[in-house]
């Protein structure tokens, strides 16, 4: 891109600037365009799960429903409640969308297509993602509404708590690939990390479900408890922005999950240099992402909401200890069998016949990583078995406790002299 402009007779610095600007616009437009299509996909899917048609009136298959909604939101009256902190109130929706869009800067779409291959990419997207938390607090605080503020407190407690297991599970791909750059994590991922450390992948998925506030962790919305939570006072397009941000965030975590654990753009033919390989890589990434997104939608539509105390206990008493232990296990077991890239490459060149064919088919880097992957996978399975044993014990303990509570339970009787167990003579009909 830059070379092309320079060849056209542009100044080098200007060309770089224009190329970067175009890159930014391309990346963020892709994100926003996906919102429009994706909302339709999600509503249609929810409709099918609940045995109804979903949007089907506006356009073919209801495809234009989102545009109709957009038109509605644009012409809605926008109310700023009295006593609201105007600056904070208006800033919150901007930050909430901006925070999610900024994550897309480090998403590697293919071997060559990436907005910005930061060498701290993994840290960058967690940092930028937490701007969203800030936006919610601003929205709750700025609205001058009790429900909004209480909802915001809840949300902050949830998002902040679930960030801990999320970051700890991101550490596993970082540790295995030895880099925080997103492109490097994909490049080193000869074996998908979900097969190396399935527990980390599971932890990442669960905690990012909570991060985007999807069911079963949708206490953010909790329409039956705190009206609508932090965005109660927002109307019109500002509300639309919160909606779009939440939606885009849900999609973004699916992209991140497929990059960190499902090999990103890697797939058959994605290594080919040039546009063809890049397109294939993009298609691969998108396919994996839609797979994760399908799972997310399925969970959203089938799992009931959990209580806030259960949610916090689940995080601090289960996810955080498990992610710490998992990280330690991966770190320890990974040290036993370090991948020997040089040795395997030498063996590959020295080998002949069928063995050489195998080496060429899989690539020496993949073969070199197999021993470590197998060992860590076995360790993960053992860890999961231990965890399930502990959970079983805990479940039995809780069950017995509940039984004793039931036995000791006495129904309320107004006078202690006459327990209700004695049948009260009826006065007849």
């Amino acid at each position: 891109m830059i070379e092309f402009l320079v060849n056209q007779g542009w100044d080098k610095d200007v060309a770089t600037g224009v190329a970067l600007l175009l890159g930014v616009v391309a990346v963020s437009t892709f994100g926003l365009l996906w919102i429009i299509l994706g909302i339709w996909v999600e509503r249609k899917f929810a409709g099918r799960v609940q045995d109804r048609l979903g949007p089907n009136r506006t356009g073919p298959y209801g495809l234009f429903q989102t545009f109709a909604d957009l038109g509605k939101l644009l012409t809605k009256e926008d109310i700023t409640p009295q006593g609201a902190d105007k600056v904070i109130y208006n800033m919150a929706p901007l930050i909430s969308v901006g925070a999610v869009l900024l994550i897309w800067a480090v998403v590697p779409f293919s071997k060559e297509w990436i907005g910005s291959d930061l060498n701290v990419g993994a840290l960058y997207f967690t940092a930028v993602g937490s701007f969203g938390t800030l936006a919610i607090l601003l929205a709750g605080w700025g609205s001058n509404n009790k429900y909004a503020l209480l909802g915001a407190f809840r949300v902050i407690a949830q998002l902040v708590s679930y960030e801990v297991p999320m970051v700890l599970s991101i550490l596993v791909p970082v540790l295995l690939s030895g880099s925080m750059s997103m492109q490097e994590i994909v490049n080193k991922q000869n074996i998908w990390y979900i097969f190396v450390s399935p527990i980390a992948a599971l932890l990442f998925f669960i905690s990012s479900l909570a991060e985007v506030g999807r069911s079963p962790f949708d206490l953010i919305e909790a329409e039956s408890e705190i009206v609508a939570g932090f965005n109660i006072e927002y109307s019109g397009m500002k509300f639309g922005m919160f909606y779009a941000a939440e939606f885009l965030h849900a999609f973004t975590i699916c992209v991140l999950a497929s990059i960190l654990f499902l090999g990103g753009w890697r797939g058959i033919g994605a290594e080919i240099p040039g546009v063809a390989g890049s397109l294939l890589g993009f298609v691969w990434l998108f396919t994996k992402t839609l797979g994760v997104y399908f799972l997310l939608m399925l969970i959203r539509n089938t799992v009931p909401r959990i209580r806030i105390d259960q949610m916090m206990a689940f995080n601090w008493k289960f996810l955080v200890p498990l992610s710490l232990v998992n990280l330690l296990v991966v770190a320890f077991v990974g040290k036993i069998l370090q991948p020997d890239y040089v040795g395997v490459t030498a063996a590959a060149t020295a080998s002949s016949g069928l063995l050489s064919l195998v080496y060429q088919l899989l690539g020496p880097n993949l073969i070199a990583e197999i021993p470590r992957a197998v060992v860590i996978f076995i360790a993960s399975v053992i860890l999961w078995w231990l965890v399930s044993m502990v959970m079983q014990r805990y479940a039995i303990f809780e069950h017995l406790k509940a039984q004793t509570l039931v036995k000791e339970y006495k129904p309320y009787s107004p006078s202690p002299e006459q327990p209700t167990s004695a049948p009260v003579p009826s006065a007849g009909r």
Partner: protein, 119 residues
Amino acid sequence: MQVNEWIFIGIFFAIAWIFPAAPIIMAQLLRPKRSTVAKMETYECGIETSGDAWVQFKVQYYLYALIFLIFDIETIFLFPWAVAYNQLGLFALFEMVIFILLLAVALVYAWRKGALEWA
């Protein structure tokens, strides 16, 4: 090369706010403006708003925030270790184990003290 990457992020930071701002400004031009006193009141179950929005809330939120702070800082320390993990020897690994265990003790302490209970 790396500088270019950061310039990209800089431009992104400047532009990312424009995308959500554009529809809001557009809506500002299109929407009707007929505000009344009743409309501008903050919502509270349909009845008149009583009292301040700054109500009392659970002290529990503070405890979670404090525990989060401990672990957040811990993860920041863990990142460089994870990046260098392939080059590090066993000694660094054990050092990190001790570091994590120290924080795990903090978690256990908070757990035993009941800071994690939503009471």
